[in-house]
Symmetry: C2
Subunit: 419 residues, 2 copies
C-alpha cells in the first residue's frame, strides 16, 4: 500500500519557502484591489464541458482535463468518443467561469461589477520548465462600465500593486484595437487580412521594423501599403504625441473620440500614479486575443523579458456568451511569473516580525514547560512568531536548520533558565 511519491505529471508540490512568497503576493493583490473598490468572487474549478468547449478558449480547449461521468450516467460499453464519457472538466482559464458567474448572478452583483478573481486553472500542456499543468491565475475585470474610467481604474490599481513588489521600475504599454485597425485601413491593407497583418506586426519585438516589413511583403501584401504602414510607425512617438499624431493623420479612419479617450487615460494615470513606471503609447502592441475591442495594455518589469500581465477591453465577449451585451475591461496578472521572478532574486517577505524559537531541554520539568508556554503566549499576543521545540541530540545542526528557516532568535531553555 505504498504511495506514488511524485505529484501527477506536470504538477508541482509547493514548499514552505515558495508558499511564503505566494501568500505575501496574494495578500498584496487582495489588499490593493480592495482599496480600488474591487470585490473578491470565486467560481468552482469544475465547469460544464459544454461551456469549456464553446470555442471561446482557443487552443486551450485542446488542453482540457475532462471529468468522467458518474453512476448510471456513465455507460462505458455504449461510449464511442470522449464526449460520451464526460460531463465536466477543469477550467483552463478564469474568463469562461467569470462569464458564467456574471450571467448567473448579475442581479445580486454591484453595477458596475469590479471583480477580483484568483484561482487555480488546469491545462494538460506538454510539461516544460517553469510551466505547470496547475497554476494560479489572477484576473481583475470591470463588467458593465463602458467609460474610460474602467481603464484608468484597472491600470492604476495594477500599477499600484506592481509598485509594491520588489522591482525598481516597470513599464505599461498601451494601444487601442481601433487604432491598430485604423492604421491598417489607412495603409490600404484589405480588412479581411487585418488579423494576418497584426500577427506579423506582433513580431516587432523580435525581428524589428525591417523584419516586419519584409515578412509583410513576403506574405503578398502590396509594397505600397507596407511602406505607408512603416512610415506611420516611424513618424509617431511613443507618448501622448503619438496619439495626437494618430488622431490627425488617421482622420476618416479613426473616430477622434478613441484618440481623445486614450489621451485622457494616459494623462490621468500618469498624474495620479503612485508607483515608479511609465505608461507608454505603443502602436505596435497587438495582444493575441481576438476578442479585444478597445484599449489594450501590457505590463513588463524593466530588465526582465516578457510581460507580467496584460489585458484590455472586450465589450462583445460577455454578450456573445450570455445573450446580454455587457461592456468589460480587465487585466490578467502573471501571478506565477511574478512569484518566479521574486524567487529567482532571493526575495524576502518584508515586514515579517522577528521569528523566535524556544529550544527545550529533553528533561524540562512540567513547571518550566508551563512557564515557557505562558511566556510564548504573551509574546504571540504582542505579534511575535514563536516556535517551541525540543532540542535534538545534534543541537548544532538543529540550530543551523532553524536559522535557515528564518529563526533569528534561538533561546535554549533548561530547568534553571531565567526567561
Amino acid at each position: 500500500m505504498s504511495l506514488k511519491k511524485k505529484p501527477v505529471t506536470g504538477m508541482k508540490d509547493i514548499l514552505p519557502q515558495e508558499m511564503e512568497i505566494r501568500d505575501y503576493v496574494i495578500g498584496l493583490i487582495k489588499d490593493t484591489y480592495k482599496q480600488f473598490g474591487f470585490t473578491s468572487m470565486e467560481a468552482p474549478c469544475v465547469e460544464h464541458i459544454e461551456n469549456l468547449t464553446s470555442k471561446q478558449g482557443g487552443d486551450n480547449e485542446k488542453l482540457i482535463f475532462r471529468i468522467l461521468k458518474r453512476g448510471e450516467k456513465l455507460k462505458i460499453e455504449e461510449a464511442k468518443e470522449e464526449n460520451d464519457l464526460v460531463d465536466s472538466g477543469l477550467r483552463y482559464d478564469l474568463t469562461v467561469p467569470l462569464c458564467r458567474f456574471y450571467s448567473n448572478n448579475a442581479n445580486e452583483l454591484p453595477q458596475p461589477f469590479k471583480a477580483l478573481h484568483i484561482g487555480n486553472v488546469f491545462r494538460a500542456d506538454r510539461p516544460q520548465r517553469g510551466r505547470f499543468r496547475q497554476f494560479m491565475q489572477c484576473d481583475i475585470d470591470i463588467l458593465g462600465d463602458p467609460t474610460f474610467l474602467a481603464e484608468i481604474d484597472v491600470i492604476l490599481a495594477t500599477s499600484t500593486l506592481v509598485g509594491k513588489l520588489d522591482f525598481d521600475s516597470f513599464t505599461i504599454r498601451i494601444n487601442d484595437r481601433r487604432i491598430l485597425k485604423a492604421m491598417a485601413a489607412y495603409s490600404g491593407f484589405p480588412e479581411d487580412s487585418f488579423t494576418q497583418v497584426f500577427i506579423i506586426l506582433d513580431k516587432m519585438d523580435k525581428i524589428g521594423m525591417d523584419g516586419v516589413a519584409k515578412e509583410l511583403e513576403e506574405s503578398g501584401f502590396a509594397k505600397e501599403s507596407v511602406e505607408k504602414y512603416m512610415d506611420l510607425f516611424k513618424a509617431m512617438g511613443n507618448g501622448i504625441d503619438g496619439v495626437a499624431y494618430c488622431k490627425e493623420k488617421l482622420e476618416g479612419f479613426l473616430d477622434a473620440k478613441v484618440a481623445d479617450d486614450l489621451t485622457t487615460i494616459i494623462e490621468s494615470v500618469m498624474q495620479a500614479k503612485t508607483a515608479n513606471f511609465n505608461l507608454e503609447f505603443d502602436p505596435t502592441l497587438v495582444r493575441g486575443m481576438s476578442y479585444y475591442t478597445g484599449p489594450i495594455f501590457e505590463i513588463s518589469i524593466d530588465g526582465f523579458a516578457g510581460s507580467v500581465g496584460g489585458g484590455g477591453r472586450y465589450d462583445e465577449m460577455i454578450g456573445k456568451f450570455t445573450g446580454t451585451p455587457t461592456p468589460a475591461t480587465g487585466f490578467s496578472i502573471g501571478f506565477e511569473r511574478i512569484v518566479m521572478l521574486l524567487m529567482e532574486r532571493g526575495f524576502k517577505v518584508p515586514g515579517a516580525k522577528e521569528k523566535k524559537v524556544y529550544l527545550l531541554d529533553k528533561k524540562l520539568s512540567n513547571e518550566k514547560l508551563l512557564e515557557v508556554m505562558k511566556k510564548a503566549a504573551e509574546e504571540r499576543k504582542a505579534g511575535q512568531s514563536i516556535n517551541i521545540a525540543y532540542a535534538k541530540k545534534n543541537k548544532k545542526f538543529q540550530k543551523e536548520q532553524l536559522e535557515k528557516e528564518g529563526y533569528a532568535v534561538i533561546t535554549e531553555v533548561y530547568n534553571d533558565t531565567v526567561l
Copy 2:
C-alpha cells in the same frame, strides 16, 4: 453559443459578501498558525488515482471525481471499466496529498514539519443543503514530533484562532484512544469488538447513557461488561479528575504515561490559553477515523450543535503510506462550517477602514477628473478604500446600492465641487 448559467451540479458560485468573510477567515488562519511556527504548503488538486484509491480514504473513495486519460493513452474501444479510462482524480481530502507531499519532500522540510494546508477538495456527494461538491478544507499537522508538545501546539494554536472569531465561548473536548481501549478492556469487552463498542458509545450525545447501555446489550455484549463500563463513565468527572481516576482505576490496562501526558496537555493548555474556552476531558469522545492512535480532540462553539473542528494523533498512518514510520498529530478546521455560522449571524469583517466612493457627474471635465484621481491616490496611500464611479440616472437607487455594499461615505463630484 450560449452558456449554461448555473454552476455544475452541487458546486456553488461564491458572491462578494461571502468572499469577504472567507478571505478574512483565511487571513486569520494564516496569521495565527504562522505565529505558532507553522508554514504553508500546497499540493495539487489532482492526485494519482492509485493514491486516491488506496483504501485510506474510507467511504470518500466512492465519491471521487475521476479524470479521463488524454491522447494516445485513452483507448475507449478497449476500456472495460472506469479504471481503464482514468489516470488521476480530484482529491477528496488533504490527508492523502499531505502524506504524498511529505514522502516526496521530507528532506527539504523542517523537522518536525508543522504544516498549514488550505485547499479545495472535491466529493461527488449527493447534493444537499449546506454541503457542496467542492469545498475548502483547512488542516494543520505536525509531522515528526512524538511528544505532547505537538498536541499542546495544535490545541493552543487552534483555540487562539477560534478565539479571534466572533464567538463568545467554545469548548474543546479531549480524550485518548488508549484510554478508550483501556476502559473497554477493563470492562471485559473482547478486543476484536472494540470498534463496534466505540461506534455505539459515539451515540452518547444523541441517545444518552441509558440508550448506549441498551444498544450494547442488544448487540449481544455481556450485561456485566456493559454495567462495569457504564459505572466507569458515571464515576469519573470531565476534568483533570477524570484522567486521574482513569490512571488509578485502569491500572494494568492503561500505561500511566498516557494519563500523565494527557494531564500535562490539559494543564498546559488551560494555563497558557488566551481565548475563552474550556479544555474538557471527555471519556465518551470517540471520533470516527480508525487511524487515530493517541490523544483525540474536538472543538464546538457553545450554543451551536456539531463540531467546527477536530483531530488527533495518528502515528501509524504516514508510515503505512510511505514506508517510513512518522509520528503525526493534526487538527482539521471546519472552514465551511465556520463561514456558514458567521454568515448566519450577519458577521461584519472587523477593522475594515471606512469605504468611500466618489460619484462623478457625467459632464465632469478632464481637469476635475484628474483632481479626483489624485485625491483618491492620496487617500488610498493613507490606507483608505476609494471607489470612483459615474453617477447613474437613478442616483437615489445607486446610492442605496452603494450603501448596501458598505460605502459609508458617498461624495458627489461636479465641476465646481471643492474636494
